[in-house]
Each structure stands twice: as structure tokens, then as C-alpha cells.
């Protein structure tokens, strides 16, 4: 057939449109096999979440609400703070995690800036020391920290302060990693452009560097908060008599296990999930609006 471009003859318009090739069912399966597998794995990940949600409505006939599903009740949801010490432990967890997050985010952000923007000897050692807490088993970190507190005579005052100290310690590394990732992707020439346009060092930092690094810093803070809030092993070693929420759960398993714990778990999940999805949707809307202008 010749490939010169000629106008299609009018007669062609009366022919039927081209038929799309039929694909065999086998082809469809293999195309979607991997996706199907992936979705199955995701479903598997969510099974316990579903159970937590279901068990939050559980009215246990026996002591423990984890045994099996007995009967449906709203009671757990309406009286969340009924079990002794539950809400107190939540309050403590919030306080600890908030404090630890602030401290870890500030210190970790400073470290990230130092690593990315400045040169100094001993980078290798610094990188290693920052990395190790992420690789060390929590059992080791918790026990060694407790041993140190004991040997220095602080074993009487274990509580809020020691928990925060421990949490900051293991959150620092994660903050550094997160902020560093953001900084590395940031064009350093933007800061030079700012100085070229008469901004001194402080103004450059305030007007250019910080706003651009902020998404990374916020992500680091959120990560730090969730790591701290959910931590059990290290907290178990350094808490003394104080009870954070994970410690409460662990303690409760030995006695009566109130279903309200599942309520709190569900609430935690919902808040985070809606938060994350909400932010993503909001960002997509903002981008869509901008693109349409």
C-alpha cells in the first residue's frame, strides 16, 4: 500500500468503523493478575482493622472483649472513659507525644540542615550515629536506657520526663531522614537568588528556606507523633509507674479487657485516615483549580 497522504474517499464513510480486537479472558486475567494480588494483600492488611471496628461494638459476656464476638452494643461508644485509667493514659500519651514531637522535630530539623547544607569533618560518624537508633532493637534501647537511669540514681523518678527523653531519642533519626529528604530536593540556588535580591541570611531563611522546607518538617512531626504515641517497648522500660495508652492496653490484657479500647483504636484510625485522605483531596482540588486558571 502506498503511504502518500490522500484524502479518504467518500465511500469509506459508509463502511463500518474498525472493530477493536477481541481479548481473550486469559489475557485479561494476566493483565490484572498482579493488581488483583496487590488488592488481596491490602485486604489482608485491613482484616484486623475490621475486627477492631467490629469488636468495638462487642458486649462481652465474659471478662475479656477479645475472646469472641458476643452481642452488639453501643455502650462502649457512649462511655469511652468508663474503664479506670483509660482516659488518663490517653492524656498522658498525648502530652508525652506532643512534647517529644516538638523537641525531636526542632533538634532533628537543625541536624538535617547541618548535614545537607554545611560541610564538616566526621560526616560518616554523624550519619552512623543518627542511623543506628533506627536499626537497634527497641528491647536493647529501652533496657540500656533504663539501666543508665537506674545507675545514675533516677530510678525513683521514672515517668513523664524519662519517657519523653526516650521518645525524643528514637524519633530524632526519623525526623532527620524525613527533613533531609525534603532539603536535598530543594534547589539551593533559590537561596542564592534571595541573597542576590538583597535578602540577608536571616531573611533568606525566613522567607525562602523555611517555607520550602515546611512540608518536610510537618511530615517529620507527624511521623514523630505517631511513632511516639504508639510506642510500647521502650516506654515499658522507661515509664516507671506512669501509664501511657499502649502500656494501658498491655496491662489490660492481663485483667479485664474493656471493649472501649477498641473504640479508641477505631477513633484513632478514623481520625488519621480521614485526615490523610482529606489532605490529599484538598491538595488535588487546589492543583486542579490552579491548572484550570
Amino acid at each position: 500500500m502506498t503511504t502518500t497522504a490522500t484524502a479518504r474517499p467518500a465511500s469509506a464513510a459508509r463502511q463500518a468503523p474498525p472493530v477493536s480486537p477481541r481479548r481473550s479472558p486469559g489475557r485479561w486475567v494476566s493483565d490484572h493478575l498482579v493488581l488483583g494480588l496487590g488488592i488481596l494483600v491490602l485486604v489482608y492488611m485491613f482484616v484486623p482493622i475490621g475486627y477492631i471496628f467490629a469488636l468495638s461494638f462487642n458486649q462481652p459476656s465474659g471478662k475479656s472483649a477479645t475472646a469472641q464476638f458476643e452481642s452488639f452494643t453501643w455502650h462502649n461508644w457512649t462511655s469511652v472513659c468508663e474503664p479506670d485509667g483509660l482516659c488518663a493514659s490517653l492524656k498522658l500519651s498525648f502530652a508525652v507525644s506532643l512534647t517529644a514531637t516538638v523537641v525531636a522535630t526542632v533538634l532533628g530539623t537543625l541536624m538535617a540542615f547541618a548535614l545537607v547544607r554545611h560541610s564538616f569533618r566526621g560526616r560518616g560518624v554523624s550519619n552512623l550515629v543518627i542511623f543506628l537508633p533506627m536499626a537497634t532493637p527497641e528491647v536493647v534501647m529501652g533496657s540500656s536506657l533504663l539501666a543508665m537511669f537506674v545507675s545514675l540514681g533516677f530510678d525513683g523518678v521514672l515517668g513523664f520526663v524519662t519517657i519523653v527523653i526516650a521518645h525524643v531519642m528514637f524519633c530524632l533519626s526519623f525526623v532527620v531522614v524525613t527533613v533531609k529528604a525534603r532539603l536535598v530536593g530543594m534547589d539551593a540556588r533559590l537561596e542564592q537568588a534571595a541573597m542576590d535580591l538583597y535578602a540577608n541570611e536571616w531573611q533568606t531563611f525566613r522567607l525562602v528556606t523555611l517555607p520550602l522546607a515546611m512540608p518536610g518538617i510537618v511530615a517529620a512531626a507527624l511521623l514523630s507523633f505517631s511513632l511516639s504515641f504508639d510506642d510500647f517497648i521502650v516506654t515499658n522500660f522507661t515509664a516507671g509507674q506512669s501509664v501511657t495508652f499502649p502500656l494501658y492496653i498491655y496491662g489490660a490484657k492481663l485483667k479485664d479487657f474493656p471493649a472501649q479500647l477498641f473504640v479508641v483504636g477505631t477513633i484513632m484510625f478514623l481520625i488519621s485516615f480521614i485526615g490523610v485522605v482529606g489532605v490529599e483531596l484538598w491538595r488535588r482540588r487546589a492543583r486542579g483549580v490552579a491548572a484550570r486558571r
Binding site: L42, I49, G108, V129, L132
Partner: protein, 301 residues
């Protein structure tokens, strides 16, 4: 501690014309507060742990301890608990492998097959972390309970004998480990797969490779960095985990972590607890050093 190589500072190699170099000066001061914190609350306790492991084991909490450089502690620790170590590494290895087997298709699906749902699926991967991991593990207790649906199903299809159980068996503990560490495998895999240049896969197809061969020869090798970091991120914490063993198993499934916790908090046998911890750390550090040797320290953090 370990043999660490430092990467050369940028100023000693000639930069590309106009490339931005790192500033010298007082910037390193920014590093100080955080490093101080880590030095006091991580490095120092770890070193102290090292010394504790060398205490005279005949001491006790009441009578105090003598540092006698008693390396025999290590010998007795291993003699005492070598089966625990084997079990821990075994469970962790199995869990890591299964995580890889399950996590790879998931990561692959997210990267290449998810289209506009990519970000949403990523959220779903980390969503289970939105609720307490203790609660999730306890939920597994219910799911795998003797009267539960899973056990019932497995009995029905004769995989499990009539009087068999899932809870209080290694299966449950490993299942718990798999569940807890799946995102740690999936996310690095995703990050690595996402970086693969699509055009390379297209080139493979252009050169007569079937889709599976293309995967085997091009995609998978290129995703190996993700496989390596995912493996490390799963295996290392899994070795030291003891919550799953405690909640889903019996003392017959206990891992090294359980022993360390008991030795420390219940028995107050500090030299033993410390030596076990050091051994566990040593294995971890060995793996990290191996990784550094291949990849350098700049990508660690």
C-alpha cells in the same frame, strides 16, 4: 565500633563549573544539640550496656555488681539461649521472606498498575499504622482463635487437624510478625520500583523479551536496592520483637526479646540481659556494616 569509611568532602574534588558547593563555617553547630542528645541517651547507655554485659554474674541488684571483664557471660548466654536465637532469626527470616513474597506484588501493583489510585493505595498501605499495633495484634488473637472462622475454615479443608490450633503456635507468631512488618517491606520496594525508568522496560520489549522475561531481567534487578533495604527494615526489628510471641504464642515460641525483657525486668539478671542485648545488636550491626560497605554512609540517613 565498626569500620566506617567517610565520604570525601566536596571541596577536594573539582566541581562542575557553577555547581553549588556546601558552605564551610559554623554550620556544624546545628548538629550539636541533636548529637548531644543521641550521645547521652543512646551512645552512652549502649556503651554502658557493653560494660554491664561484662559484670560478674554472681552479683545482684541488692549487692551491686563488679566489673570483672567476665567474657564468660557471653559464653553462658549463648549456651543458655542459642535455641532462642535460632528461633528468633528463623521466625524473622520466614516472616521477611513472606513479606517479600506478598509485598512485592503489592508494590509492583501500586507502581505500575494503580494509575490514578496510586496515592490512595499508598495511604492504604500505611493506614493500619493509624491504630495501635497492640490492638492490631490482639485483634489477630481473636481472628486466629480456636473457635474463630480462620481455624474453622482450615479444619474444614483439612489443612489443620481437628484438634489443632493456630494460636499458641509458631504459625500465629510468624503471621503476626508478617503483618506488623509488611509496610516496612512494601514502601522501600515501592520507592525503588518507582525509580525504574519505564523506557528501559519498553526497550526490553523492543528487544524481544516477553513481559515475564522483561521483569526478570530488567525490572527486578533494578529494584534490588529496594529489596535490600526492605529486607533489612523487616528482618532487623523482627529479630528483636517479642510482643507477637507474647500475645500470640506461648513460652514455647518465645524469642530473644522475651528473654531479654524477662532477664531485665523480672529476674534482674543484668549481665545476662546485657550480653543477650549486645549479641543481638552485634548481629544487627554486622548487617548494617555489610550494607555500608556496599552503599556508603551518605544514603544511610
Amino acid at each position: 565500633m565498626s569500620h566506617v569509611t567517610t565520604t570525601p568532602s566536596p571541596e577536594t574534588t573539582a566541581p562542575v563549573d557553577g555547581e553549588v558547593t556546601r558552605r564551610r563555617g559554623w554550620g556544624w553547630l546545628l548538629l550539636v544539640p541533636g548529637m548531644l542528645w543521641l550521645a547521652v541517651f543512646f551512645v552512652f547507655p549502649t556503651i554502658q550496656l557493653l560494660f554491664t554485659s561484662l559484670y560478674d554474674p554472681s552479683g545482684s541488684y541488692e549487692t551491686g555488681y563488679q566489673l570483672t571483664w567476665h567474657f564468660g557471660n557471653y559464653v553462658s548466654a549463648i549456651a543458655d539461649t542459642w535455641n532462642l536465637f535460632l528461633r528468633s532469626f528463623g521466625y524473622a527470616a520466614i516472616a521477611t521472606l513472606v513479606c517479600l513474597a506478598l509485598g512485592y506484588p503489592l508494590a509492583y501493583a501500586i507502581t505500575f498498575k494503580a494509575g490514578r489510585w496510586k496515592n490512595f493505595m499508598l495511604v492504604l498501605v500505611i493506614a493500619p499504622f493509624f491504630t495501635s499495633f497492640l490492638l492490631r495484634t490482639l485483634a489477630w488473637r481473636t481472628i486466629l482463635a480456636d473457635e474463630g472462622p480462620v481455624t474453622g475454615f482450615l479444619k474444614a479443608i483439612a489443612v489443620l487437624p481437628d484438634d489443632g490450633r493456630l494460636l499458641a503456635t509458631p504459625v500465629a507468631v510468624i503471621a503476626g510478625l508478617i503483618y506488623n512488618f509488611m509496610p516496612f517491606m512494601t514502601l522501600p520496594l515501592y520507592a525503588s520500583l518507582d525509580k525504574v525508568d519505564h523506557r528501559l522496560i519498553e526497550a526490553a520489549g523492543d528487544l524481544y523479551a516477553s513481559p515475564f522475561t522483561g521483569f526478570r531481567k530488567v525490572t527486578f534487578p533494578l529494584s534490588l536496592p529496594g529489596v535490600v533495604s526492605g529486607t533489612l527494615l523487616c528482618f532487623i526489628p523482627a529479630c528483636g520483637d517479642y510482643i507477637n510471641a507474647e500475645l500470640l504464642g506461648t513460652p514455647k515460641q518465645y524469642m530473644v526479646g522475651n528473654r531479654i525483657q524477662a532477664a531485665f525486668l523480672t529476674e534482674h539478671n543484668y549481665p545476662l540481659a546485657a550480653s543477650l542485648s549486645i549479641i543481638l545488636m552485634a548481629v544487627v550491626v554486622l548487617m548494617v556494616v555489610f550494607y555500608i560497605r556496599r552503599a556508603g554512609t551518605e544514603d544511610l540517613v
